[in-house]
């Protein structure tokens, strides 16, 4: 069985539209995850037991359950709580919540890596907590985070086919629809796999290059 190039070319625009939705969800979800992850990482170090305990419970729960089932729960629970969002927003929230738990751990590692002397110096110079974080700790912690975040970005991109289960018209859904309508599975799925590789391999190489450059 061979690939029919004319057919593959004719379904290309459909898949491309799916790819655009995918990228939109990934980028928005990534922004949400990066911000929420930072908040979680800082709140985890809070001296209030309740706050740090809640953060730990959040991280543990989201890291130990599958994203797909989380998406199902969000998709059905939000409307029954009176919040009706388009599927795409549910996807962004789902991806963002899930990945924030992972990114928070990465932040935590980076923050733990800051030498104790920096904290003590900030203390000795009488910086308040907010300034210490803003001017001393975060700038040093965030720099080595770049390649780590890149890996998560690629990871998120590859999780997006899951969003098809909650009816988001992303790349995977588009391929499935084309396959369902034409009964030809070969071209749409092959084209989809190639599109995934076309995005993820260059991104991976880019972050590898950035990592190498920062380590020189």
């Amino acid at each position: 069985m061979n690939l029919d190039y004319a057919f593959a070319w004719s379904i290309f625009p459909d898949l491309l539209r799916g790819l655009l939705v995918t990228m939109q969800v990934v980028i928005l979800g990534f922004v949400l995850a990066v911000l929420l992850g930072l908040v979680l990482a800082i709140a985890q170090r809070s001296s209030l037991r309740l706050v740090s305990g809640a953060c730990k419970a959040y991280l543990s729960f989201f890291r130990n359950t599958p994203l797909m089932v989380q998406l199902y729960v969000l998709f059905f629970a939000l409307p029954s709580a009176g919040i009706t969002l388009p599927a795409v927003s549910t996807g962004v929230i789902g991806l963002g919540l899930y990945y924030s738990a992972y990114i928070a751990e990465a932040y935590r590692g980076a923050i733990d890596g800051i030498p104790k002397g920096q904290w003590e110096a900030a203390r000795a110079l009488d910086f308040d907590t907010a300034t210490t974080w803003q001017r001393i700790i975060l700038p040093q912690a965030l720099k080595p985070m770049l390649p780590v975040l890149g890996n998560y970005l690629i990871g998120m991109f590859k999780e997006t086919p899951l969003l098809a289960v909650i009816t988001i018209p992303e790349l995977f859904q588009a391929a499935k629809q084309v396959a369902g309508m034409t009964y030809r599975y070969n071209e749409p799925y092959t084209l989809m796999a190639l599109m995934f590789l076309m995005i993820s391999v260059p991104t991976s190489l880019l972050f590898k290059y950035l990592e190498k450059r920062t380590h020189v």
Binding site: F61, R63, F76, K158, P161, Y189, T190, A193, F196
Partner: protein, 225 residues
Amino acid sequence: MLFDAAFYDTATFIARQLAHGALVTLEITVLAEVLVLALSFTIALMRLSPWRVLRWVAGIYIEVLRGISALVLLFYLFFILPLFGISLSPMTTGVIGLGLTFSAYGAEIVRSALVNVSQGQRDALRALDFGPVTAFRRIIFPQALPFMLPPLGNQLVELLKTTSLVSLITLSDLTFSGSQLITTLGQQTLIWSIVLVCYFVMAWPLSWLVRRYEQHSTAWRRAQE
């Protein structure tokens, strides 16, 4: 009202369905993990081999499989391979698909742990004229093991969670049982929440063990500070 007969019946029905699904999930996890470990070591050793061709093949294997999402690979194996005349049972497809995807990551874990063994040890092996197999089995591998166990453990947790994907290729795992319960009972939010808790109950002890081991094996570093 809490203990009337109908409620009790429904609860046992749900519990039985989910328990059956959870068993399938565990079965897939174990089988896939065996495949992952075998492939990870093979690919990692290929990447470290002195022959350039083997290194290249392993490198391409890792890049390609890390670039394709697990779900896409599963669908590819399940729907496309039959068109080429190879049809696999859903179970085999699930195990192979997950095994291939995770072995690409596992190979990198194994490789970096093996590379981590210090050069002095390798020089000593040379000096003492160990054969490559004995050297690997008695010197390199035992020293690399503590480095690779925690990430491999974390990866096992990931694998357990990712098995939920096989519900989409008609395997009756935990997620699939959940969706079947919903077609008979409705109650989407409730059932999916129960499924979520089931996964948590299976995965959390594993994560806990990994964390304990990590704390135990890095205790000396904290003691030094």
